[in-house]
Symmetry: C2
Subunit: 322 residues, 2 copies
């Protein structure tokens, strides 16, 4: 990827070229030198795609549900990009789920673009570049972007809550309903899905969610999260889910700015933190100095707070960023 | 909390006073002004506690297992502190699980200290202050610290992988074994626990883990993660789990530094990022300016990369930290 390639690549993304979309996403995932300029170029062309966040505990059938939802929205004339966020192997840095064969039914459909993205395994909890991948799909003219996250960690919750609509997928079973109610993903739901609704326990789970909802106060005209029953494996309930998403979109049409702002705030903080840490390691500390400081902390020769204050002072005294 | 209270509080923590431990933890969780000085004071007295990380998907029975493990290690003469990391409600900022009644069996035992910690709901994925809470328990002379995390998010994985030993708890059931194998928490395991081992599917789950392990190469003298079957509700398998943890501790006795360093690296990056963002908002940007920048990004008048670069430049040009 040379500098001269970049303007054409951005233009081809704007033209909706799937190969250009894939290449742009790879640049962003690899944090390649050209990635920030690419996002800068595409960014003014974004804000049109409607972002659907889908989350839930492992085993809830999210992938299958998303695959089916893609079929439903395509039939409704939407174009769609899917970003499936996978936890990264801490050892290999590779995506655990990246090799799964997804959505073969849509393989020949140019209106569908699917990307499995590995979350970054950096210690320090730096958030992944999901937002930038969504920028690419948005700029490429996809009318819908579906972001699917595995797990219930804080990063995953943040990714989904900054979507335009948050869909929480649960599944009846081994007490997981109660666990999920506890696990902090319930309160971000705009729409609940009880998947595998033919299973024993589906009614009980719906009742659990209802009683959870009954504890909350909903004002006049406020959206009360509906519960949609689905059987993703055979497509049951998908039309209702899509209708419910559209109803939410209509209901909140005048209040989209708050979600957009929350998404951008998340992204700005994350970028600032990442850029600052990169600046510190490249420009403030000498080669190997970061590890040396960590070693001194590990040996109790200093403490994390003193070390952080010292590095921060040095960084701020070191003058302008490049 | 006044400045004059702080030295006695730190001393009382070092003396192992449970009320002082609780108070110190509250200061740290609330990010109170005195918290950094407190951690600085306690930090040189740490490094003795052995940190056991316990994670796994929701519904795996981690809490019950940890409760039982506490009983086992107490019987073995250890003193123990437990930090249970709960996802935070994005709306209330409160801990979802904080109100649960935990470990009533240990309520009268001064050798047990239990704390449910809410993860911070800040957008931007800032990591929680688990490390600092562990510092308090370590400095207070607890010989073991158990960190239990809900969920499989990246932050949670980072917390557990920087423990001295990582215990991954799985449960037979509705295909969750396969999901869990996929979810990225397997490769951090030093020890696997198949809990609720009396259930149908337990053998299949053990076989799944074994075949997963058989794909990895273990060198001579390298630890091969064993699989322990437990039934936490009735205490079965807990003695074996404790024996296995001790065996791992013995096996890795000469190689503890790498874990300690990883833990401190995680902490230092997280502190640096958090301190920098706080500095930016308090000293670099004017009142309301952060929100104004976010608004400009949301309206596509600028893009996140340009905004971050601009803020970083201003921060670095603004001179020394406070």
């Amino acid at each position: 990827m040379t500098v001269t390639d970049r303007p054409p690549l951005g233009q081809r993304v704007l033209d909706g070229d799937p190969r250009a979309i894939a290449r742009a996403m790879s640049l962003i995932e690899d944090d390649a030198p050209g990635a920030p300029d690419l996002v800068r170029m595409l960014f003014p062309h974004t804000g049109r795609a409607y972002v659907i966040g889908v989350t839930g505990p492992p085993g809830a059938g999210k992938s299958t549900l998303v695959d089916r939802l893609v079929g439903t929205v395509r039939a409704a004339g939407e174009t769609v990009g899917v970003i499936a966020v996978d936890p990264t192997s801490p050892f290999t840095g590779g995506s655990i789920l990246g090799d799964r064969l997804r959505m073969q039914a849509h393989a020949a459909d140019a209106g569908v673009f699917i990307r499995s993205m590995a979350t970054r395994g950096h210690l320090g909890g730096l958030a992944p570049t999901t937002s930038d991948l969504a920028v690419v799909l948005d700029a490429a003219g996809r009318s819908l972007v579906i972001v699917e996250t595995v797990g219930v960690g804080q990063d995953e919750v943040d990714i989904v809550r900054t979507a335009d609509v948050s869909v929480v997928v649960l599944v009846p079973g081994t007490g997981d309903d109660v666990q999920a109610l506890k696990a902090g993903i319930m309160e971000i739901a705009d729409i609940y899905v009880v998947n595998k609704a033919d299973r024993d326990g589906a009614d009980r789970m719906v009742t659990s969610i209802e009683s959870n909802l009954s504890l909350q106060a909903f004002g006049d005209g406020q959206w009360r999260p509906p519960i949609v029953r689905t059987e993703a494996t055979n497509g049951k309930g998908l039309d209702e889910l899509w209708a419910t998403i559209q109803a939410f979109r209509t209901h909140t049409a005048g209040r989209r700015e708050a979600r957009l702002a929350a998404r951008q705030e998340y992204r700005l903080r994350e970028l600032l933190a990442r850029r600052f840490l990169a600046h510190v390691e490249a420009r403030v500390l000498g080669a190997g100095e970061f590890d040396a400081i960590v070693g001194r902390i590990a040996r109790r020769e200093t403490d994390p707070y003193s070390a952080a204050a010292d590095v921060l002072s040095r960084a701020l005294a070191s003058g302008a960023a490049r």
